[in-house]
């Protein structure tokens, strides 16, 4: 199942004009706050009526301005996971979870209650009130409530933004599992590069209400011309497979025919991972550095260079089948005579890749 979205909406001097596809997996709406992400999600949920456009999946039309079709929110069957959870305070966790199923059509495909409760680990919470739950627990219940409403589409509007880092780490694996297990599309709003790298299947990059780029996540993230959150937040995502666990706590993986050494990742050999490598953690050398503490020195070719307006520059490097981004200064570009096609070495400290930058990708 895939959703096609075309939207136009004007309000408060802001114009939103977006067109994109949301296929199976997680489609991430990525951009700064104020770029129109939440407006798009609310339009899909039916909480906002856009001026023009069409939202449909195969023959299921939720909105078609030209044909005068606008389904109200209760007829759309979207599972909306809100940033603040929005659990019903007067109902128990169990009643919250069952709320949507009560209104879903009888013939709708249903998730088994017990299976979802087990997957989210919320069985001990069922008889409690939302007011007595921690932030992470609330968000897990909110995920369960959306899943159990027999949705055709999951919407998640910055579902981790209100949580601290430890709670984020608690919730991220559930979204990884949903991405790999669900047949329905998930539209996920975020402005955090780490969430994008770990979760996104497809990336839709928004700037000032316009889609500036969309495509497979790895491809879009490695483009030096697309940095919606600024060059300092740029970083690529690599698909990798664990090849060895070394006795000194180093995990060896292979990514695009290139071996990489990482701090220990507690999965068995053969596990597929996705790894975020931030542009500012990558150094460039024109000769192979010797006697250096960095564990990863990769032969690479400069594939593209983008000079910033200030002192910075972004270099796109090809190492094996991977594209990396390196954030360097323009002074270094001229000192090293960097240009497209030049053979260089990309230098990456193993410890610059924290455990939180490594995602589990067993399904894809």
């Amino acid at each position: 199942m895939s959703f096609s979205v075309t939207l136009q909406h004007r309000f408060d001097g802001f114009t939103l004009e977006a067109q994109f596809e949301a296929p199976k997996g997680i489609t991430m709406l990525y951009g700064r706050s104020g770029s129109g992400k939440t407006t798009i999600v609310n339009a899909l949920a039916g909480l906002l009526r856009p001026d023009a456009g069409r939202i449909s999946s195969e023959d299921w039309v939720m909105f078609d301005a030209a044909a005068g079709v606008f389904l109200p929110p209760d007829k759309r069957r979207v599972g909306y996971i809100f940033q603040e959870g929005r659990l019903f305070p007067h109902l128990s966790v169990r009643q919250n979870l069952k709320y949507g199923a009560w209104f879903a059509p009888k013939d709708a495909p249903r998730e088994a209650f017990d299976r979802i409760v087990d997957m989210l680990g919320i069985a001990p919470l069922l008889d409690r009130r939302p007011g007595r739950l921690s932030g992470g627990e609330k968000q897990r219940v909110a995920i369960g409530r959306a899943l159990l409403a027999s949705p055709r589409l999951i919407l998640a509007d910055e579902p981790l933004a209100a949580l601290d880092d430890a709670r984020k780490e608690e919730i991220l694996p559930y979204f990884e599992r949903l991405r790999d297990a669900l047949e329905i599309p998930i539209l996920y709003v975020s402005h955090a590069g780490s969430e994008v790298a770990r979760l996104a299947t497809t990336l839709v990059v928004l700037e000032n209400g316009r889609v500036i780029r969309q495509g497979p996540a790895a491809e879009v993230l490695s483009d030096p011309d697309v940095t919606p959150m600024g060059a300092s937040a740029a970083g690529v995502m690599l698909h990798a497979t664990i090849t060895a666990q070394h006795a000194d706590g180093i995990t060896e993986v292979t990514a695009g025919r290139v071996p990489l050494l990482l701090p220990q990742v507690g999965y068995p050999v053969g596990t597929d991972l996705r790894i975020r490598i931030e542009a500012q953690d990558v150094m460039i050398a024109t000769e192979r550095p010797r006697a250096i503490s960095a564990l990863n020195v990769l032969p690479a070719t400069v594939a593209a260079l983008r000079m910033g307006a200030g002192p910075g520059a972004l270099a796109q490097l090809r190492a094996g089948d991977n594209l990396l981004l390196a954030r360097i200064t323009r002074r270094s570009v001229s000192a090293l005579d960097l240009e497209e096609g030049k053979e260089v070495f990309a230098v990456l400290k193993a410890v610059s890749i924290p455990r939180t930058a490594i995602g589990d990708q067993r399904g894809t």
Binding site: A45, G46, D74, R86, F88, Y99
Partner: protein
């Protein structure tokens, strides 16, 4: 109840009946008005708001007088209603109407505050989960404003029990017909030697008022506990 004379007892019973019907009768209108004021924008809203609150600030005698002018059997509205068998003037129903109108603003205020405290985002969430407008109201809005409805009703009941000025102006002070608790206390105070009767009714008034207050506190605590914090 032999410690109360039949006259005293009938005043207590009448007041309870008047207050009960006044509260029950006002409730649907107050709920509707409170929703209108809390959630809707419409031209003339301030005027409407003022009109609702008018009985709170007008001298009660004026309210009673206006009721009398409108609902006496000679007046067009009073005449039309009496054709339908509904008579307010100088009947206990009139006392209930006067009490309802005097208590109305208090009830509206309490309910309006509780509606304004409901986060519309929760109602949106319910809609995305498939609940139609009516179901959203029944399963989310109504349970969350229940404490406000309760507080408003008890406040209105207490106000209706104590209503004096508008009642005596509109329906007079006929023992057994329209003589409510406050009217009876007032009447007994005019008769030399009837201070005992007045005092007994004063005690009953205090007990009923305190009882209503304690009941409302206990109920709202229970509901607040059931709803839980946030």
């Amino acid at each position: 109840m032999d410690w109360l004379s039949p006259e005293e007892w009938s005043a207590v019973a009448l007041s309870l009946r008047v207050a009960f019907w006044a509260t029950l009768f006002s409730l649907p209108f107050a709920l509707w008005t409170a929703h209108l004021l809390a959630r809707c924008a419409f031209p003339g809203k301030q005027l409407f708001n003022g009109l609702v609150h008018l009985p709170l600030i007008l001298p009660p005698v004026v309210t009673g007088y206006l009721l009398l002018v409108t609902f006496n059997i000679e007046a067009p509205i009073g005449q039309a209603l009496s054709q339908l068998g509904i008579v307010f003037a100088f009947r206990w129903t009139g006392a209930a109407l006067a009490a309802a109108i005097m208590a109305f603003p208090l009830m509206v205020r309490a309910i309006r505050l509780s509606i304004e405290a409901v986060d519309p985002k929760l109602e949106e969430a319910a809609a995305t989960l498939g609940a139609s407008k009516l179901w959203v109201y029944l399963t989310v809005t109504l349970p969350m404003i229940l404490p406000g409805i309760l507080a408003g009703s008890i406040l209105a009941f207490a106000k209706a029990m104590g209503e004096f000025g508008a009642t005596i102006t509109f329906v007079s002070n006929i023992p057994g017909q329209t003589q409510t608790l406050p009217s009876a206390i007032y009447a007994f105070l005019q008769i030399p030697g009837a201070e005992g009767s007045a005092f007994r009714l004063v005690v009953i008034s205090v007990v009923i008022a305190m009882g209503a207050l304690l009941l409302s506190e206990a109920l709202s605590r229970r509901i607040a506990h059931r709803i839980g914090s946030t």
